[in-house]
């Protein structure tokens, strides 16, 4: 399967260290990882394992100390700030644990603002339709529930029409029922719309719905599981 699928992102020998001297923390130690087109990948790990650091490096929000991240044949580590921003703008969609919506803008405006910056945006109404939130487009974030806010967050990420959706603990701030709804949406994006989704989480159950699960511990990938038969998000309980 790996040979058949197109590699979207190829990270090799990533090392990332924070702090100096005695306070030095090695967040990632020689991590290598490939992300394939159309897959649902879960990065599992406990708090402080380095999973979020890995996600941030993959998303161009942070730079590794060494190693490479190849995107379209170019090493992202050599990108300048402008190129990195461009990468985030065109190829990456972020979904945050705390939604990070702009409170002053309606749901539609939050999405539209991101779409305006993208090179090949989707129609805003379409993405709202995809996340099933058309009726709440004119609402402000404070007028939405947590699940609805996260769906707006997904819609915002999708509006840019990105190749890759990076989700950092997308269910972390939600109750399990609402979280499940979000996972269903993400699953739909992969299975129905052919998107590539990377979910970073510490909830093992979420791994069951993924095509691939990577376990991170103490800054290293300790295990990689290929799920030949992923379960549906609907059946996950935690």
């Amino acid at each position: 399967m790996e040979q058949e699928k197109k590699v979207l992102l190829d990270a090799a020998n990533i090392v990332k260290t924070y702090g100096k001297g005695e306070g030095k923390v090695e967040a990632l130690k020689d991590v290598s990882l490939k992300i394939y087109d159309g897959e649902l990948l879960t990065i599992l790990g406990s708090s402080g394992s380095g999973k979020s650091t890995l996600l941030n490096i993959l998303g161009g929000m942070d730079r590794p100390d060494s190693g490479s991240v190849m995107v379209d044949g170019k090493d992202m580590c050599s990108f300048n700030d402008r190129q990195l921003t461009d990468y985030r703008r065109r190829q990456i969609g972020f979904v945050f644990q705390s939604f990070n919506l702009i409170a002053e803008l309606t749901a539609r405006e939050n999405v539209a603002m991101t779409a305006d910056t993208a090179g090949n945006p989707r129609i805003v109404e379409e993405v709202f339709d995809m996340v099933g939130l058309t009726e709440k487009m004119k609402s402000y974030p404070t007028q939405l529930s947590g699940g609805q806010q996260q769906r707006v967050s997904i819609a915002r990420a999708l509006a840019k029409n990105p190749q890759l959706l990076l989700c950092d603990e997308p269910t972390g701030a939600l109750d399990s029922d609402t979280g499940k709804q979000i996972l269903i949406e993400l699953e739909k994006l992969v299975r129905k719309h052919g998107r590539t989704v990377v979910v970073v989480t510490h909830t093992q159950e979420i791994g069951k719905m993924s095509d691939r699960v990577i376990k991170v511990k103490n800054g290293r990938i300790v295990k990689e599981i290929h799920n030949e038969h992923p379960v549906s998000a609907e059946s996950i309980e935690w």
Partner: protein, 871 residues
């Protein structure tokens, strides 16, 4: 608790440093300017007392030692009297320029009263001392020689010293003079030198009188012999007539009839001759009396053509100067021309004129600024506490009491305030020495006693500490009341509170634009804080600039609107038309016009005021008379244009009739003059007033021809002095130098404080929106997109700040200028486009600079950390 202080310092280092800097600036300007003022006031008073400025002065034509002696013996409270002669004359400088000089004599003992700036005494020469400013302005140094006009002849004098006396603080020929004039100065000559010259003059006068008397005596002898001859002829004629008459009655004939007629004619002629001789003898007797008077005058005065000879009176301690002066005037009797006590003197008046604006500038503006600074400090401190909300929540959760949290932040503030006070005191002392040295050089003062105003130091220290503590207590109280768990969580966004109007206005804007505008209004307190801080900067800069604008307006009103001539010449009497004609035919003098000059008493109802009146033709282009709002006025043929302040004092409005020295004149218009206030009447009306106080002529002349004119005028015995407009402007600019200094110091401080405030406001605003901006960055917004968005916010806040700051600045400036205005000088608020533009552009420049700094700091942000769900 002590361990918690350091992290707070580390976290808010920049903001705390800003508080220290801004507070220190406020303290510094308060301490510095007030200290310099106190030092100046003390030094001026010491100068006046150390150099023994007299307690009272009586000016009179006759000043002699015997009268001085009489004053000492007859007025108990007088301890010492100095009699000194004074006159106005001209001195030719080494460049050949004729300078007007008022010279005073001094006794040998008086030397100690002078402050010698430089000296090279040489008693063997005819020496003269020159006042330091006058000498410096005209490049005259010790050892130079100048030509000193005395009795219509120039004498070469040796400049033996450059000196100053308290009276030289008042360098004006008359009270109505327009500023200091470098062409006019004070000189001092030893009395023996003047007496020598006076003796020479006396001898000449004695000789003239002797010659006249000899001539008179000779004529008298001739007249007497002619009278005797005439008397004998009359007697002879009478006897002949008698004989003739007798013959006529005895032997009448036609011949005897004719002889009788002839005799009668002869008799009549002789009688007429006798009458003439009697009249001539009476005239001779009268002249003899006059001569005797003149001889007496020569004997009983010091014999100089006096202008304002003076008795300088020194009173015993505890004397009421007004009463003692009145007694002295009684003793001197009718010869007294004028008098004044030290308190009412021109010197004191000049000191007050200089001190009043400096006092206002030294207390009022720093106080306003300090108040603004304290508000800003209050806001900054509140911000620090608000930003520590989460930390406070943690501390509360850990069991710290509200009081201990208050104590923590109050301790932080106390350290900051103390640092500000210490730094401010250092800045203040430095500023005091800087400004003080400038004051000393300006007046100039031989000694300058530096001393800080204790009240202002205490006030600034107490205010800094108290306001800091109060702001900390208020902010911590509100935060400490929140439940720890709530304090630790992120406060809910305030979207719903965006005003309807703003929502409507931004409904069709792009999401980015809407975000720019609405996110600015999200935290209303922050928005108000930002606007107030930037508005404070606008206000401070604008109001401090208004002082310079007002001064420029005064000079503009005087030298651009009013005076359109190059010089004004003063004479003892009004020059005749032939003289004006002569001036106009000199070739280099143009438009010479008489400007009759009256110092009159104007009364309206029960009110009376002394005022200066100028006679001016309605079609004269040399003087512009303007009313309020720069409306040009025409001088009426029969009426008078009254100056605004005088009109207010008298309660006169246009249309009223006032009495000028007993002559009724209708007021047709009210003019607006900030300084050197004059009333204007037509030449025809001037004739009704009678004799002028001074003759005055205005004319145009180029600078290169000034010397020629001065040479020409020096030939005239009526000539008093001349005021060249360009020199008068220089003089007025010199007067404004201390004012300028204080104003520019305030401006510089306002500019620096404004910059610190604006940069900090931008930084704190940026920090508050750090998360949103980082989200935008992670979503793929370029740095320049965010920069543009951020600039829109800053610009909108700047507009709001200008809308608040400019009117506040206008108000503060108006109040300040009103406080600055004195009886003789009104500082008005003048709208000046450059001032508005400068303020707006400067603060806009600050916005741009602070924006660039903020954007640079944004580049260093850790996006990953910022988007996490924590503060």
């Amino acid at each position: 608790m002590r361990r918690m202080i350091l992290p707070i310092f580390k976290k808010y280092l920049k903001l705390l440093i800003s508080i220290v800097l801004v507070s220190a600036m406020g303290c510094g300007i308060m301490i510095g300017l007030s200290g310099a003022y106190v030092s100046l006031e003390t030094s001026l008073n010491e100068y006046v007392s150390d150099y023994r400025y007299p307690d009272a002065v009586v000016t009179t034509d006759v000043v002699n030692r015997s009268r001085a002696q009489r004053l000492t013996t007859k007025v108990d409270s007088v301890s010492e009297v100095t009699a000194r002669l004074c006159a106005d004359t001209v001195v030719k400088s080494k460049t050949g320029r004729l300078l007007s000089v008022r010279f005073f004599t001094f006794e040998e003992d008086d030397r100690q009263k002078f402050h010698f700036w430089s000296r090279k005494p040489d008693d063997s020469k005819d020496e003269i001392y020159l006042e330091v400013n006058f000498a410096e302005d005209n490049d005259i140094a010790v050892g130079d020689t100048v030509s000193f006009k005395f009795d219509d002849t120039f004498r070469t004098c040796y400049v033996a010293a450059i000196v100053s006396m308290p009276e030289t603080l008042s360098m004006q020929p008359t009270e109505d003079s327009w500023g200091e004039n470098p062409d006019f100065g004070f000189a001092y000559v030893p009395r023996r030198f003047l007496e020598k010259m006076s003796d020479e003059k006396l001898q000449k006068e004695q000789q003239r009188l002797d010659d006249e008397q000899a001539e008179l005596l000779k004529n008298w002898e001739d007249a007497k012999s002619r009278y005797a001859a005439a008397a004998a002829a009359v007697e002879q004629a009478q006897s002949e007539a008698d004989a003739c008459e007798e013959a006529y009655y005895n032997d009448y004939s036609e011949e005897s009839e004719q002889a009788k007629s002839l005799l009668e004619e002869k008799q009549t002629a002789l009688a007429a001759e006798k009458e003439k001789l009697v009249a001539a003898s009476k005239e001779a007797a009268d002249r003899q009396d006059e001569l005797n008077d003149e001889y007496n005058t020569l004997e009983h005065t010091d014999g100089y053509d006096v202008l304002c000879n003076q008795f300088q009176l020194y009173f015993k301690e505890g004397t009421d100067p007004d009463k003692a002066l009145a007694q002295a005037e009684n003793v001197l009797g009718a010869i007294v021309k004028s008098s004044y006590t030290a308190e009412n003197s021109a010197v004191r008046n000049r000191i007050n004129i200089n001190l009043e604006p400096i006092e206002t500038m030294s207390y009022y503006m720093p106080a306003i600024f300090f108040t603004v600074i304290l508000i800003v400090v209050f806001l900054f401190m509140s911000l620090i506490v608000k930003q520590s909300r989460r930390d406070i929540g943690i501390l509360r959760a850990l069991g710290f009491s509200k009081a201990s949290i208050r104590l923590l932040f109050c301790s932080v503030n106390l350290v900051v305030s103390l640092a500000a006070v210490v730094l401010g005191s250092v800045v203040g002392v430095g500023l005091m020495y800087f400004v003080g040295s400038y004051y000393q050089a300006f007046f100039p003062l031989p000694d300058f006693t530096y001393g800080i105003s204790g009240e202002m130091v205490v006030l600034s220290v107490v205010l800094t500490l108290v306001v800091g503590q109060i702001s900390t207590l208020i902010s911590t109280s509100s935060i400490a009341r929140i439940h720890p768990s709530e304090a630790m969580s992120r406060p809910a966004p305030m979207t719903a509170e965006i005003p309807q109007l703003v929502q409507k206005l931004t409904a069709h804007a792009s999401p980015m634009m809407k975000f720019s505008i609405t996110s600015m209004l999200r935290n209303k307190m922050r928005f108000v804080f930002s606007v107030v801080c930037v508005a404070a900067s606008v206000m401070m800069i604008f109001s401090s600039l208004a002082f310079i604008t007002s001064k420029n307006y005064i000079l503009h009103q005087m030298y651009e609107e009013r005076i359109h001539y190059d010089c004004q010449i003063f004479f003892k009497n009004e020059p005749d038309d032939a003289f004006i004609e002569q001036l106009n035919t000199l070739g280099y003098v143009k438009d010479a016009t008489k400007l009759p000059y009256f110092q009159s008493e104007i009364s309206f109802g029960k009110q009376k005021e002394k005022a200066v009146i100028n006679g001016l033709a309605a079609d004269s282009k040399l003087v512009g008379v303007y009313g309020e709002k720069s409306r040009q006025l025409t001088i009426p043929q029969d009426g008078m244009i009254l100056e605004k302040h005088l009109a207010q004092t008298l309660g006169v409005s246009a249309g009223d009739t006032v009495s000028v020295d007993g002559v009724d004149i209708q007021v047709t218009d009210i003019s607006d003059q900030c300084i050197s206030r004059f009333q204007y009447i037509s030449p025809a009306t001037a004739e009704k007033l009678g004799d002028v106080t001074f003759g005055s002529v205005i004319c145009n002349i180029s600078e290169k021809d000034e010397k020629k004119l001065l040479e020409f005028l020096s030939e005239s015995s009526d000539y008093l002095y001349i005021v060249f407009t360009r020199m008068s402007l220089m003089g007025n600019e010199k007067i404004f130098r201390t004012y300028d200094l204080a104003a520019w110091i305030i401006i510089v401080f306002a500019i620096i404080i404004g910059l610190v405030i604006v940069i900090n406001t931008a930084q704190t605003n940026l920090l508050e929106k750090k998360k949103e901006l980082c989200i935008l960055r992670t979503l793929g917004f370029q740095h320049r997109d965010i920069s543009r968005n951020w600039f829109i916010q800053s610009f909108l806040q700047f507009i709001c700040s200008c809308v608040i700051g400019l009117p506040t600045g206008i108000y503060v400036a108006q109040v300040g200028l009103q406080m600055l205005s004195t009886e003789g000088r009104e500082y008005v608020f003048a709208n000046s486009l450059p001032e508005y533009l400068f303020t707006i552009l400067l603060v806009f420049g600050y916005i741009v600079v602070s924006h660039l700094i903020a954007m640079q700091s944004m580049k260093r942000w850790d996006m990953v950390e910022s988007v996490k769900d924590k503060e």
